[in-house]
Point group: none
Chain length 223, copies 4
């Protein structure tokens, strides 16, 4: 059959395909996030996007397709945004902290869509569910790389990096998943700061602690 990651369209002009899909996915993300996959109808999406029902079926094969591209879009945002923010940052510890901050900020921006990831992945066809999970794993690896660099450089003592990455990811996701319990107590920046204190600092080596202090001073100057 078709490969799991590709969605075919009846329309040939690739420029138009891109535009229309973006338009539809924007609407779908909003509605799926607010009312869930099953609470959102194709007719809702069409109205929200300002187009006709039939047109959606020119750009997506079925509703599953729309959900899939919606979730894929969230993952792609992670995969684009985090490396973009890391570009130019050299110091391993700084890279780790910046990556965590970037992750949390994307979660904040796509809050509803992040929740959607937890709620609706199982609504997908099996092969696409796998595809989405692989995307998630790829994002984790971005953090894993940063974490390992810190360990190699001796800033962090050897820890179970595999599980610690998950804790960092869950910490970020929690900003969306447990928004009702967190947003009243922390600003986003404070939350990231607390995350570093909780999930990075305890594992710092002597060297790491010194490096961290320097980074803190530097940051304070540039602010």
């Amino acid at each position: 059959m078709t490969s799991p990651g590709v969605v075919e369209s009846a329309v040939t002009d690739p420029r138009l395909v891109g535009e229309r899909r973006q338009q539809i996915i924007r609407a779908a993300t909003k509605l799926f996030s607010e009312q869930g996959y099953y609470g959102t109808t194709i007719q809702h999406i069409a109205r929200e996007a300002g187009i006709s029902v039939g047109l959606i079926y020119q750009y997506f094969r079925d509703k599953d397709d729309v959900l899939f591209l919606t979730l894929k879009h969230v993952l792609e945002t992670y995969e684009n945004e985090i490396p973009a923010v890391l570009a130019g940052v050299e110091h391993p510890l700084e890279r780790l902290c910046v990556a965590l901050g970037a992750y949390c900020r994307v979660v904040d921006r796509l809050r509803d869509a992040t929740v959607l990831t937890y709620r609706s992945t199982k609504s997908l066809r099996a092969d696409r569910r796998t595809f989405i999970k692989e995307g998630e794993a790829r994002t984790n690896r971005l953090l894993e790389t940063c974490l390992r660099a810190c360990i190699s450089a001796g800033h962090l003592r050897p820890v179970n990096d595999y599980l610690l990455v998950y804790q960092l990811v869950l910490f970020s996701h929690a900003w969306a998943l447990k928004a009702w319990a967190l947003r009243d107590r922390y600003t986003l920046d404070d939350y990231v700061e607390e995350g570093i204190k909780l999930l990075v600092e305890p594992y710092l080596t002597e060297k790491g602690r010194a490096a961290m202090a320097r980074l803190r001073r530097k940051r304070r100057r540039t602010d």
Copy 2:
């Protein structure tokens, strides 16, 4: 009108009500977990439970009711199990570790239902959603109490207990949420052990480290 946590039944015999409800919830938990709330029909549940469709409506007002009691059952398992396991355990650090282990073990046992909590809470009526969230908060407080006792006793250095509890909870939930990524690499016991290393040990004080070592020796003897 009705308080959110109570579900009425057309059947009067309380013994029968208890039995039938359990029978239905068992079936519903299985199916909701496998196929989600909307992917599961009342017909499915009836067939799985070995009863007729109509009978479900003698014990639950509607499908929402079935989901609600299913989720409530998960929460009640936490709230019963964890205190039961803690009974008789004295040392603050041991209580914390035992609580984490108990939490993970309940998650392991109700793995599908735990995932269901994340997927389907939003499908509930608003007041019941709140009710479920409060149940979750109550469970968190069980861990929070253990954690604070450790800090008061000087075994753990002062940390952001509110967030650390969330990390411990997420760590436990991850055993269900990310089962596909974890169950190949860890047994449940190892996973708990790693959790302690990752989310408890780093915050130990000098005193805490000594106490922990003693506990470890004691445990090795009793095993």
Copy 3:
């Protein structure tokens, strides 16, 4: 099959059959009248009658049976009540007026059930519908006899007695059918009085007018 007017029962004791049926019909009449045939469930009737669902099926074959006996009961009330009131009344004009008054009074007492007659007769099986219509015709004939006696005696000029009987019946039924429009403007007694002015007096002969005046005076004395 069974003859249309007979309803069989699984219970043999005829005394019990009579009592239970009355108990059930009382409940059914109330509920059918308030919520209509389809808006009333057998479970409602059982609760209202203070018995179990199963018991109803010991005394009636099905729901249709219950409706049938309910409607039959209304007709029988007419057929018993009107002759009872007429007994001993001699003068043809007085008999006509008394009959109309009795009819209206029964309608008033069985107001809801009378409306039910209009609403639900069609819900019956065909043969029973006919049976009910014949009962209605029988009641009409009671009035028809009174009316014809007045004409024969020269109190009323020859009129279309067949249609005038219908007008008298409709006038009585209107007290139930259009209650919302009539009960604010008239007491039951006034309504009957107006009915006589409207549907009897205009057809009086010279002789009839004299007789009517005498009757009026007589009645005033006895009041």
Copy 4:
């Protein structure tokens, strides 16, 4: 929220809305009349109308809506037809007789729907029931106006016009309600003629009788 008399449609083209609704109401009127509201399923209506089930829900919110518009259609026919027939008729007595004839003719044409009015009004939501009753009152007023004009002009002696109007209305409705007892004995025209003899002529004044005779002669000439 929505005013009780308006029914919204998902379809925008007003021409189509009109056509489809008429098509559906025609089918519904037939079936509701034959089998009653609860005996008729949406599937039946769809098949009778030659369309799909879903389409009905594009033009009506629910089954209640279909019944409501069906009943409303009957009332509107009265309110349109009677004034139309009266247009150009000058003489008060002629107007009254023409109005009664028009009323009976509409009842004849919408016979089943008229019975439906009696059977199913209670199946409507409360606010709509009121709406329908008001429509009925409006139709009554058409007759009331004719009747009062006759009294003012001295053609009819003073009578209880409020109740006489009801008798005229019931007389017309009886053509539908008691069709089984009337249609074998009268043609529609004869029935109307008998109605005039029964419910108009007895109340004529001397002047009225003379006028009536002239009208009769005139009519015989034009026929």
